[in-house]
Assembly symmetry: C2
Homo-oligomer: 343 residues x 2
DNA sequence: CAAACGCTTTCCAACGTTGTAATCTTCAGC
DNA sequence: GCTGAAGATTACAACGTTGGAAAGCGTTTG
């Protein structure tokens, strides 16, 4: 079988515990002894058994990331950022896909895998504010996203309202006034859709424009095909608009494609801005203006918070909340003279 | 602390081992006893400690997927397919990103995490055929991709040459004859680039056309920006071509964007086909014809093979090789009358 | 009626590691 | 040369689980 500490101990002519001490950098080890042990480890190619260590120490150095769907570019990029942040701190990440369904999200959270990891980063779409009570589990956890606020756990999110307001203002400044709120969920108050719609309304209000309900376009699931589908209906309905605030990049790209097929020029006829700054927005035709939600900051902060929870006193500090900073990224899809009609 | 088998045993008034037997579906358990144990498990909310189980049984039910980069759409979709296939069989997946660097790929393979998983799916970009000897590790492994053939382990890959030949023929059939081989690595014989170039050559030969070296365009790294960059140079050079066989979708999309910026019409002026069938190809403008490499089949087969290795006799069967089937997906970017010049 | 059998449950040890506490060494200080 | 303290190492137990073998028990068989 594999090499164990026992073999190393024998080879270095010390006790098993001394080997353990060397590996774990315990104080009070003679330099000469440490040398000898390290040499034996090297020679035998010893590698610790992480199951045994996990059993004994209660730590596995594995954290779990629960997300709806890796095929979704936003979550793929989030996963990348989280894994990079975790690797920097010596942790490894198990990804579990929930498909965004509430039942599956709860199932995963209460499944036996949770006992195998030190902590969980929990990014949900199916759960809502009313489920806040259900996510209080013994495993340390940091919640991501905008489905539940002021829950029992730490929470990292982006400035949805402010960012959406800024996106809307970005278009208003460029002289567009008939703006679609593209991707709304009308019955939602929080959640990305609810918050972003609120930001849109605030921007209009600040600019002295009325909110017109028919300009809020429902797109239930935020995939590219849904955006395309929704835009097709908008065009058929003959609705008059000159700008689109899309609530994520995927539906923006889907919608853009449909508008172009219909002969609309972007940004001349319609200006459009998305949300998330996924890689693809830099390469679409035209390139898509968007909101950088501060993904790296979100990932770094979430991992750091989680590790603090894991290391720190169990229930000492109360749940913390953190909002990452955002940036408006201006690209071709909104590249028109600012406020050209006022010239 | 957490509930253990000991607590369950006490509650059900049986021995610890009986609880274990119930959980592991051992034969010869009285129905009544099983009931009682299951009830106690339910009531106490017992969940097994996977570290302990892993230590005792040598199994963790975790497999590792080593890939270059999750931000790359191809690998994100591969990861999704692998996780789905694994979940179906009760396994969970740890993803490790190598960045595609040879050193890091080896480092991960020989790192201590390998002792925590039952097996590894290993998708490499940095290693090459000459490293075949280095990847023989005690942990069961299935190699993915086209960097190493006939190595010491099972191998799952796609039909690169045949698929590339089919892609090239797809353009030839549509009357295009001056075809770029876009994404070549001139010094490579195997590897995706080498094999796909070979398929391109075979198609030309079969059609009675000469291979012209200046039409093979090197693109070192297969990211969108590299494709864009390479196409910019091609256009500047004034090279004459009417079709592009791109060796993956990302560089195809990057190149398409650049050609359109330069006023070329697709597919009228230039027809283009990619490789991989990533989601985005269905939504680009125009939609991109491509090769479906059989990703799901690859994932399913790789996971199945790996589990066989894990369960089966260690070195019983020799290394197996499997090539998934491919499909040519015809979309707008090649939507021109077949062989129009012969009409 | 004893022996044998099959089903069911239990006992014991072990997986490889680390925490605690005990032991052994070294060396300063007198 | 002795004492005491600090430094270095070790013995032992324990983490929660499962494999193997043994034991209990009810039934059948010669």
């Amino acid at each position: 079988m594999a090499i164990t500490m026992r073999d190393v101990a024998q080879a270095a002519d010390v006790s098993i515990k001394t080997v353990s001490n060397v590996i774990n950098d315990h104080p009070n080890i003679k330099a000469e002894t440490r040398e000898r042990v390290l040499l034996a480890i090297e020679k035998l190619g010893y590698q610790p058994n992480l199951s045994a260590r996990g059993l004994r120490s209660g730590r596995t150095d594995v954290i779990s990331l629960i997300i709806p769907d890796l095929k979704n570019a936003y979550f793929a990029e989030l996963a990348d950022a989280v894994m990079t942040a975790a690797a920097k701190r010596g942790k490894v990440v198990i990804i579990e896909q929930s498909g965004g369904s509430r039942a599956r999200e709860l199932e995963i959270l209460h499944g036996p895998r949770m006992r195998m990891v030190d902590g969980v980063l929990y990014s949900v779409l199916g759960l809502g504010q009313e489920d806040a009570g259900l996510i209080d589990i013994p495993t340390p956890m940091v919640l991501l996203g905008e489905r539940i606020f002021h829950g029992p756990t730490d929470h990292v999110t982006m400035q949805n309202i402010e960012a959406s307001q800024a996106a809307t203002e970005h278009l208003l400044q460029r002289g567009r006034t008939r703006l679609l709120a593209f991707g709304a969920h009308r019955n939602e108050v929080i959640g990305s859709a609810g918050l972003r719609l609120e930001g849109y309304r605030r921007a209009l209000q600040k600019a002295g424009l009325d909110y017109r309900d028919e300009l809020a376009i429902d797109v239930q699931s935020w995939h590219r095909s849904d955006g395309a589908q929704a835009m097709r209906q908008v065009l058929e309905s003959g609705l008059d608009f000159d700008g689109v605030v899309a609530f994520n990049d995927s539906i923006a790209l889907g919608a853009m494609r449909v508008m172009q097929d219909a002969g609309l020029k972007i940004p001349e006829d319609v200006a459009i801005i998305g949300f998330d700054d996924i890689d693809e927005t830099r390469y679409s035709l035209p390139t898509l203006s968007t909101i950088d939600p501060g993904r790296r900051e979100i990932a770094e902060t979430a991992v750091a918070m989680l590790l603090e929870r894991i290391d720190g006193a169990p229930e000492a500090t109360p749940a913390r909340e953190f909002e990452a900073g955002f940036k408006v990224i201006s690209r071709e899809s909104t590249a028109i003279r600012p406020a050209e009609d006022s010239a």
